[in-house]
């Protein structure tokens, strides 16, 4: 009997299995989706995301989410954002292509900065966002915000500095390496020119012709002489081209050495600050006071702005080239998942329109943020992502307004302008001092641009009814803090302006406030002559170490540069001399023999 190809009786168990899967979906889909979304959101944002409930509304092609809480990645006891209800209206067709196109997103009951009942867990492991949060935490720490150290000046007896701690010494090492590299590379190139045979031959030919009577050479002899001169001139032209190429390389090397040497000034300023901090001396300059008092709070704002900017750069990449990302987490190796965007097709993720209703404390006015064209493939959508915040109900002076444009079509060109007026500004501590500021209601504004990797942003905080509060420890203030306390306690106005510039990876910050000069003057009076002398000693010690460890390297670099430039100049001069001499000889040869012009 022939064997059957199909096992028909297995269909019933398979159908039962399908029914079981259907029942499992009905019972568990919402819960599984909620967990998956919370998990993906946590990985995506690098901070804990909680969702109270999630309903998949298959018949409506929509998803509803409630009780969303996104922890502040830099403050686990607070939520960055909390939303009561979210409705996501999906376009069903792209789902078949595993793409999420949201036609309408509506988020209601949004509050920011709310307190968490249970502190958020730090997000462990790799992934872009957790690593980005860690690097932004380190980024904030890298700023050398000088504390208002008020160590009694008369305790300064000696300054002991390990030269390896100095930025100038590290920079000197870089100069030494650059010098060695330039000397070796360009020295070899100059030696490799081997101009001596060409130049000697040219010289000998010129001298021989100078002693020759052209009329005695005859036509054939003169033609040979002209050919020799032209051939040698051609060799000299070739030599000149090679010398020019080496000269360009030497000029480039000189630029590198000069720029490395120029960086010593900044390094020396860092060294002054480092040694001053090492011995506990305050910086008595006004600008430094702004950084010291308000640098930390300004950085906290910029840190959050950088967090969003980094997310936008990562998840909204320009261009349509295939993109590789780590594969899904599983027992097997994750591998790499490559996405292949295509023109005129759906992007992997797109929010066509969205509205976020904001709840502002202490106001009945209604505000909302409107989002358009938020996508992971800006190159496919062709329009920048736009976010605008404004009032949608109520009247009175505007409390919140702002707009942001994320243009990632081709190049990254992002800009943001936002202002929050009349709402409470969170209080903050002054680093190194036992009191804090409670600004109360005031105005916070942020404006900034991101062009490629270059960032420029300005943050201003202004309040006119500031309260200065001593720490609750009850400890008596020392003489320094007490003096400062006397300066600031009566000041009701506070105005801080912080500027961020540079690149996302190496930004610079500068903070100014209306208190800088007053505090600086008080510090000077507190520190008095002893501080001035101590600061002079710090500078002298740094200068001494600089003289001892750095100056020889700079001299060497300067000497190498000068030597290379001189060698090239000598070669140029020699080539030019021989060329001029030969051209003169050629002129006399081609002037004609007996009135006949030679070809």
């Amino acid at each position: 009997m022939p064997r059957k190809r199909f096992r028909w009786r297995a269909i019933v168990p398979l159908l039962l299995l399908l029914v079981a899967v259907g029942v499992g979906y009905y019972l568990l889909a919402d819960r599984l989706a909620r967990n998956a979304v919370a998990e993906a959101g946590t990985e995506f944002l690098g901070t804990q995301v909680d969702i109270a409930w999630l309903h998949i509304l298959e018949s409506e092609g929509a998803v509803e989410v409630g009780g969303l809480a996104v922890a502040d990645p830099f403050n686990p006891s607070r939520n960055m954002v909390q939303a009561d209800r979210i409705r996501i209206q999906l376009d069903p067709a792209p789902l078949l292509e595993k793409k999420l196109v949201i036609k309408e997103l509506s988020i209601g009951g949004v509050r920011v900065g709310t307190k968490r009942e249970v502190p958020a867990r730090p997000v462990e492991g790799g992934g872009f966002a957790p690593e980005m949060v860690r690097s932004l935490t380190a980024w904030k720490q890298q700023f050398d915000v000088p504390l208002l150290s008020l160590t009694p000046i008369d305790t300064l007896r000696s300054i002991v500095v390990n030269p390896s701690q100095l930025a100038t010494v590290a920079q000197a090492e870089r100069i030494r390496a650059a010098t060695d590299s330039v000397r070796r590379t360009l020295g070899d190139r100059i030696d490799g020119l081997r101009l001596a045979p060409t130049l000697d031959s040219a010289k000998a030919l010129a001298e021989r012709l100078a002693q020759t009577n052209v009329t005695k050479l005859g036509i054939a002899g003169t033609q040979r002489a002209v050919a020799d001169v032209r051939s040698t001139l051609s060799a000299l032209e070739d030599a000149k081209r090679r010398v020019d190429a080496v000269k360009a390389a030497v000029d480039q090397g000189a630029v590198v050495l000069r720029s490395e040497i120029a960086r010593l000034d900044e390094a020396r300023r860092q060294d002054y600050a480092m040694v001053r901090g090492l011995v506990g001396l305050p910086n008595l300059e006004g600008p430094a006071i702004g950084n010291a008092m308000f640098g930390d709070v300004s950085l906290s704002y910029f840190q959050r702005a950088s967090y969003w900017a980094n997310l936008a750069v990562k998840y909204l990449p320009p261009g349509l080239r295939p993109r590789a990302t780590p594969g899904p987490a599983r027992l097997r190796r994750s591998g790499t998942t490559v996405r292949f965007p295509k023109e005129h097709e759906y992007p992997t993720f797109l929010v066509e329109r969205g509205q976020v209703d904001l709840e502002l404390p202490g106001t009945d006015e209604e505000y909302a943020a409107r989002i358009q064209d938020l996508t992971t493939a800006p190159g496919l959508v062709g329009r920048p992502t736009r976010v605008t915040i404004g009032r949608i109900g109520g009247s009175g002076p505007l409390a919140v307004q702002g707009s942001a444009v994320l243009d990632h079509n081709g190049h990254i060109r992002d800009s943001v302008v936002a202002q929050v007026r009349g709402l409470p500004i969170p209080g903050f501590a002054i680093p190194g001092l036992p009191f804090r500021v409670e600004p109360g209601r005031g105005t916070t504004s942020l404006s900034g641009t991101l062009r490629g990797d270059t960032v420029a942003a300005v943050l201003t905080l202004a309040a006119s009814n500031v309260q200065w509060v001593q720490d609750s420890t009850g400890a008596a203030l020392g003489p320094g803090p007490r003096l400062l306390w006397e300066v600031v306690r009566g000041l009701g106005d506070l105005s801080i302006t912080a500027r961020l510039s540079g690149t996302l990876t190496a930004p610079r910050i500068e903070v100014r406030s209306n208190l800088d000069q007053a505090v600086a003057n008080r510090l000077r009076s507190l520190a008095g002559e002893a501080a001035t002398k101590a600061l002079a000693r710090v500078r002298a010690e740094v200068d001494r170490l600089h003289q001892e460890h750095v100056q020889p390297v700079v001299s060497q670099a300067t000497a190498v540069r000068a030597d290379l430039e001189q060698r090239v100049a000598q070669m140029e001069e020699r080539v030019e001399t021989e060329r001029t001499a030969l051209e003169a000889r050629l002129k006399s040869l081609t002037a004609g023999v007996g009135g006949i012009r030679l070809p």
Binding site: R5, F6, A10, P13, L96, E97, P322, T336, V338, K342
Partner: protein, 172 residues
């Protein structure tokens, strides 16, 4: 221990069913797909359906899964490398872009390096696995099969309830 026991059960069942060596070998070959490629993948749904619906040896498939799962883990770095090279190869960019933007196809996760590499590895190994398995089963039945069938532990396994469930799916 449990894994070992399961393996022995699969081994015994596969080698002593009424199925032909070809049916057992085909079952093992399909089971190897489940073992060599990431299990929770769309294509494996088709493989599972094929195992149940085609008249192949289900214990053979379980045996294939058991043998090739550890091999899949071991070969993952190789699959990853092969898959990535093919995904990034310029001549295939048009194909991948088209497939990625077609309905349903992206759910296969073909654009994952390990999955694509393991499928390619499986396709390359499927025919050798089939013929090696068919030869091995035939040789076993001709030499050791009868002696094992008379042993007490074989009878214990075949008398168990699990065996009755298995009989639903044995080759006809």
């Amino acid at each position: 221990m449990l894994v070992l026991l399961k393996f022995l059960q699969s081994l015994v069942k596969a080698l002593h069913t009424e199925g032909t060596p070809g049916q057992v070998a085909l079952g093992m070959t399909l089971g190897a797909a489940l073992g060599l490629t990431p299990l929770m993948s769309l294509h494996n749904l088709l493989i599972v359906a094929a195992i149940f619906l085609l008249n192949v040896s289900v214990p053979g498939a379980v045996l294939g899964l058991t043998i090739f799962t550890p091999l899949g883990f071991i070969l993952d770095p190789v699959f990853d490398r092969i898959g990535l090279v093919i995904l990034e190869a310029t001549p295939f960019q048009g194909l991948w872009t088209t497939l990625y933007n077609e309905p349903v196809v992206p759910f296969s996760n073909f654009n994952n390096s390990v999955l694509l590499g393991s499928i390619i590895g499986y396709v390359a190994l499927a025919v050798p696995i089939f013929f090696a398995a068919r030869f091995g089963v035939a040789r076993y039945r001709a030499t050791l099969g009868a002696r094992v069938q008379r042993s007490k532990w074989y009878k214990a396994i075949t008398a168990s309830k699990v065996y009755n469930v298995y009989r639903l799916f044995r080759p006809e």
